[in-house]
Symmetry: C2
Subunit: 343 residues, 2 copies
């Protein structure tokens, strides 16, 4: 198995991608292909570990790519013209079966454009979407779409619901995952035009498509553990994602500070630190890794733009599991079945 990693993508690349790959390589079975400027990558390996990557592991491979897509590049232009960029090279390898999954923390727009144009959509899906896994009470929550599609139509949300169902069933073994529509009230008449129309469409089509649609869900109930996935347009989903991320950051900072207020509280807190750390980890959104770009023909993982080495390490391990549990081939299979039945 081969994991393709955009070594140049993200705020902390290539240092964080290299260090993440170094840490992950002995925890995965796959080869890790670092795609980017070979000279830079080699000199960084020398700097950090005093060795060439091949001397560290025969599963650490470099694929040279002379260009880099920058954060400020216009996605479509960059994908079209920067043909030897780490991202375009990665997508081409993925398409041509020279790798099993592609991870990048680079320019999100370019990543989504590239995945759609160079790898291609699954037949029956109009808009692929970013599925992020968030922690929830004794459970997890899939958020579809985390931010790929700023503007959506009801049909897109219906497809997000179907993709979520298939993904959760095959990957988490949840037989009938509960799917909610993210909204500002639970009543059918609540929300904006998109949520109102999407509600009606989901209600009408869910049974025949095998979606366990449970109606509107408000953010305040999203983490209860009773909802397996919430579907929403990418703008709203991204607002949701980043607001919980922001609160999570604030919570960790305040908690640490409250416990360190004075020497007395610090000492008193010591025995309960393991419990608090366990908790802090459970609300640290960073430890939940990358979002999966569901709806394209091959596995693509969008890592957090500000990923550090620990997050890259985690995301690489997560990507291997994503390939192992065959989430994408199963998605294709189920949609093909659906497409045939339609005819």
């Amino acid at each position: 198995m081969k994991i393709l990693l955009d070594a140049m993508g993200g705020d902390n690349a290539p240092d964080a991608t290299i260090k993440g790959a170094y840490k992950a390589v002995n925890q995965v079975k796959s080869e890790i292909v670092l795609i980017g400027k070979e000279e830079i990558i080699r000199s960084k390996f020398k700097e950090f570990y005093g060795k060439e990557p091949e001397e560290i592991s025969n599963r650490l491979i470099i694929k040279n790519a002379t260009e880099t897509i920058e954060m400020e590049d216009i996605p479509t232009v960059a994908i079209k013209h920067k043909k030897d960029s780490s991202m375009v090279v990665g997508f081409k390898m993925l398409k041509e079966d020279e790798g099993d999954v592609f991870i990048s923390a680079g320019n999100s727009g370019a990543l989504l454009t590239g995945a759609t144009l160079l790898v291609g959509r699954i037949k029956g899906i109009d808009r692929p979407a970013l599925g992020g896994i968030l922690p929830a009470y004794h459970s997890q929550l899939l958020l579809m779409d985390c931010g790929a599609n700023t503007n959506c139509k009801p049909i897109n949300l219906l497809q997000f619901a179907l993709m979520s169902t298939i993904y959760l069933r095959n990957t988490f073994g949840i037989e009938k995952p509960t799917i909610g529509l993210l909204n500002i009230g639970t009543e059918e008449t609540k929300g904006n035009d998109l949520t109102k129309e999407s509600y009606l469409l989901l209600k009408e089509k869910s049974e025949e498509l095998g979606i366990n649609f449970v109606g509107n869900v408000e953010g305040r109930d999203a983490f209860s553990g009773e909802i397996d996935a919430i579907v929403t347009d990418g703008f709203t989903g991204n607002i949701f994602l980043k607001s919980v991320e922001g609160l999570g950051k604030f919570v960790k900072k305040s908690l640490t500070e409250n416990l360190k207020k004075n020497l007395f509280t610090t000492i008193c807190a010591a025995p309960s630190l393991p419990a608090i750390k366990g908790f802090a980890k459970s609300v640290d959104y960073k430890s939940y890794g990358g979002a999966l770009f569901l709806g394209v023909k091959k596995p693509v993982v969008k890592a957090h733009g500000s990923s550090d080495e620990i997050l890259f390490e985690f995301t690489i391990k997560q990507a291997e599991k994503f390939v192992e549990n065959k989430a994408v081939p199963k998605m294709i299979e189920e949609f093909e079945k659906g497409n045939k039945e339609e005819k």
Copy 2:
């Protein structure tokens, strides 16, 4: 001073409103007018305290209103036809200066419709909005709009920014409050049509209106303490509000559970409980009370629909402060000045 309280509004009314008023009355200087079905209110006072309200305090007053607006009532219809409802009676008293502030946890749509129709908008404001105060790092964050206007235009968001500025200056003493536009990226080109257009309008008009506009703000940075207010349409704002509320609930539940995992951790946790409780309070959105409906001519406070007696107690005290610091008269004054200057 007189605080008007819709005794029949909210999921836990009238028990919670009555108990909240009872708890608050000795902590405020104002009279508290409980508006609702007199017979029920009196019998509840007898049941809870064995006394008539007048025997408890001469500042506990009942105003009889024979009807109640229910959660499932259509707002405009209810406001028009239920003329003797606790809500409509409250608004009429507020308008006719028989009270200084009106608090209700009832049907949100009816509250907003009633405030706009019966109390009236401040000249120069097209859409009043719900301003909620959230906790932030060593600070607080004003969220405008929390959910009053599902659909907004850029001009509305500009007015929200201006109202936020005036409110924060006069109430929190922040000379030049920093105002951000809630968005999914910090770059000018990010977001949906509304945020893109609003960004340009805010950029163009802020200086002349005295708004300290700091650009797009993502949810992940909203709680840093560096932003005093974020403006957004009511749909997005409500998603934001409820998602942080949901995470807050999850955080409290998980933290408590982690600390109680076994007898050992429970005992160990004991000394640090005050610190943890201090922290838990700081992320408990309920202790931040009601949202202010800014842009109408008199003070209107929308209490949380699921408010309990403690939250009503808090909201009553908060409402008194809101009147004392003259937030609304100052808002009117500044907008009148602006209107004159325009001519």
